[in-house]
Symmetry: C3
Subunit: 379 residues, 3 copies
Amino acid sequence: MKKSLIALAVLAAAGAASAQSSVTLFGIVDATYAYGKGEGVGGSKKSQLTNSGYNSSRLGFRGTEDLGGGMSASFWLEAGVNNDNGAGSATNTNNQATGGAVAGIGGGQGLTFNRRSTVSLAGGWGELRLGRDYTPQFFNLTVFDPFGTNGVGTTQTLNSIGSAGAQPTGVVVVPTAVRASNSIGYFLPGNIGGFYGQAQYYMGENNDNSTLTVGTVTRNTKSDGTGGGFRVGYAAGPFNVAFSMSKTNYAFGDVEQNNVGGQWDFGFAKLMGQYSFDSIGTATAGDVDGKGWLIGGLIPVGAGEIRLSYSTYEYDIGTKPEIKKFAIGYVHNLSKRTALYTTYARLDNSGGASQALNGATTAANTKSDGFDIGIRHSF
Amino acid sequence: MKKSLIALAVLAAAGAASAQSSVTLFGIVDATYAYGKGEGVGGSKKSQLTNSGYNSSRLGFRGTEDLGGGMSASFWLEAGVNNDNGAGSATNTNNQATGGAVAGIGGGQGLTFNRRSTVSLAGGWGELRLGRDYTPQFFNLTVFDPFGTNGVGTTQTLNSIGSAGAQPTGVVVVPTAVRASNSIGYFLPGNIGGFYGQAQYYMGENNDNSTLTVGTVTRNTKSDGTGGGFRVGYAAGPFNVAFSMSKTNYAFGDVEQNNVGGQWDFGFAKLMGQYSFDSIGTATAGDVDGKGWLIGGLIPVGAGEIRLSYSTYEYDIGTKPEIKKFAIGYVHNLSKRTALYTTYARLDNSGGASQALNGATTAANTKSDGFDIGIRHSF
Amino acid sequence: MKKSLIALAVLAAAGAASAQSSVTLFGIVDATYAYGKGEGVGGSKKSQLTNSGYNSSRLGFRGTEDLGGGMSASFWLEAGVNNDNGAGSATNTNNQATGGAVAGIGGGQGLTFNRRSTVSLAGGWGELRLGRDYTPQFFNLTVFDPFGTNGVGTTQTLNSIGSAGAQPTGVVVVPTAVRASNSIGYFLPGNIGGFYGQAQYYMGENNDNSTLTVGTVTRNTKSDGTGGGFRVGYAAGPFNVAFSMSKTNYAFGDVEQNNVGGQWDFGFAKLMGQYSFDSIGTATAGDVDGKGWLIGGLIPVGAGEIRLSYSTYEYDIGTKPEIKKFAIGYVHNLSKRTALYTTYARLDNSGGASQALNGATTAANTKSDGFDIGIRHSF
């Protein structure tokens, strides 16, 4: 998110009230060579020129209008961009499996403002924000991850619940692990003695007589995809800590996602940690608990930064599949906008887990490693 | 369409001739909480955080080049934006059912310049415009609707022919009720004593040996989706009236859409009315006539405006399904760019009709009501 | 590519190093009436209002950051736009048939940065470019085609290998004939005595245990879509010549695309020529050789230009299908940004070929003709 901004001059069409108004075109183009390797039967290697190894590639438009009296209105439209092939990124329209990307249109996936599309009213009382946005339960996972949940080093506390392929049988990817559509969010103002916080409610938008049948069981799904969460934190000097809880309703198993994270900036290094404790309802095995943690840090080195983390996630089901990941990386800043980076990660599956890095495949209970090497340019 | 514009300075790459050239980035982000309720067997309720309750959400790019001698060239690329979830809006490539959105890609629908994508040449003789644009037959329906064909209050003269779900069995949604692709349009210049007008021809682009078989009947469809229309009007002082006719060819039933609308601005209120008389060919029941009307008005109140309308539409087929709608709303302008609004509407089905508001469902011959409450921010 | 550019002022967020930085919004909107006619059994005519008859319609964002010391970073995001209907254009994510557009989503195809999406580092040593870009093997076909591979006059040396419908049975469209995704490109610096050149490597990104079965044969496809090419040229005064070779791997038949092209500017006319010799592997008929050539020219006439070409392509398989095309056109510049144009072309199929122009269809071994008449506006 370190980026310089482009501001466009505004014609004073709305008179004096728009004196402080602006519209900004912004973006990131991050390209990375990514290599992944798996082991055992079915294990494979993969080489890619892909994107977002350090920061998520995007193109966005945002602006603010000063309404006077301390009030402002603003908008934010931000699209994910797969700059290795030009495709856009899919959004999820209803916070349910049915609202996501459709298999098979990958080649033609057009741009959507999947990353954020909101309109806000703000004042001394805080900010009211409507639309598609990050969920509160996501922030601790990314803010307190030395790798910012991008690239091969992404914390396992997110990867295990938010990425396809890392779940035990019957456990689904959590649609609202990162973002939610149809949300109404509230953010505390910025000036309350180090405390910060937000709450969000989001709608699944099903009709109230909707039903879903799994096997021989039919249930009403009017609340599927509807949920909410909050996050509260405190930051002062070198210290920053935050806590988040959330719940999303699904007729065949609610999802609860909770976590706490923090960091201490020692100057010569920034130490980070996080702990997640989740519960994911399944149609076949009831509520499955999952928990994970991360410890890591950032070490400034001249114009660059060393990044380190160790993270784990375990599901409390059957053979208790667990994944442990170690990641180390280096970012070299050519300027505030342009950086070169590389990350190496190694992942250890046990309890039947079989996740692999960077698109490789690996046998259950084996290791996978991979690396990224790339360039991030923001504008 | 009340919006302030962002103008970008142009580098004089084309020399003096581009002195008056400009490119404009513009848009609207309109978010609304929408509630709808139906009645009877199969009736349901729905809650949504959706978009475009007051003005259609959009992101656009447009510009004009002064060619000298009173001539100019211009372009306009405008995309619909579902800012509640970040998705784009589908276009229709051939003015036929086959050219529209494909069921099932809603989650991933990318941005298209579905609202308008045109290039124009203009001079003292008027404007020649090529591409995707509004049809002439749409304007009276929206210009003389107090709700501007947006949100729960949208006039029934449009809703009944342009929205899926409001038609009797066998009657299709009219693909060119609002816009047409592949069009060649001509607009009268703006300075001819209060008269205004436009004509448009659009192509379905089928090969001349194309055929379609319905049941046991096979017909040549070379002209399917090809058609045209015109609109002429007169505006002077408080008075504005316009008339439009159109015809679009389909092998299994042409569509004729005709309407007249007008308004009188009394100062303390603006009175509006419109009358539509359409004919929609069907494969099974021949040409089905439809007709409707609206009466409504806008009443300025301080920084706001009260909006009122009563509209109806009836199909002359079988039990003569008819829908009557009453709508009342209020818009409060926080600035020229930002407004809060709410609308309540109640719809009365008879003759077998079963339309419902805001995504709800209702039984035949029952009522449905709903409301919007939202914010519109333009840039 | 004659276009004036819009430059946005940059806030000096990155300090002095960004002094020469800029972001540019650019595009082309080119609309054309296109008519095509075929002959014989199954022959048909087609009328369209389509796009890109002179230059490819697009919307793009690009920018450069001065990194100091002769180095710079830059990005380029450029989307194809079907401005006749507002749709975007599909990309290809993996340089294979599976990565392209999916049949049936034409109506809803969203914008993708299919034309180019790259990030670059450049210095005195040249430019390193990552992402989706033109392939080196494409440039001679377009640079030395008087019609710039746009519209009904497009050289047959590209049409035969890059457009669906022009290939003999069993021969596929070459996915990398124009662009490749996941590419790493290198460009020579601009100041080496008239010589220029580039090399590119692109990845298909299959897992190394991927397989494909055709009939009873199963092969490993780990390298499918992976390949590369280079182009070297020399330009001095009126003279310009370049040579290109490339190879892309596919388990059931590699594709080799090679060509040479040149031009001589006599002042009163620019003479152009090109020669292609390709080899396209097939699953059923082994490697099929194809070869073609073009001769043509551009003749300046006042504010306009006459364009002429004769091109051919022949596949060395079975009855040796061959296509010969003659094209003549005229472009009239209203300004540097806006032009009117028309092109007429006639195509002669033999040896069983049955290609037709502008969307028409024609019987094998018959002729097809067509024309474009349109306007190109750039910004």
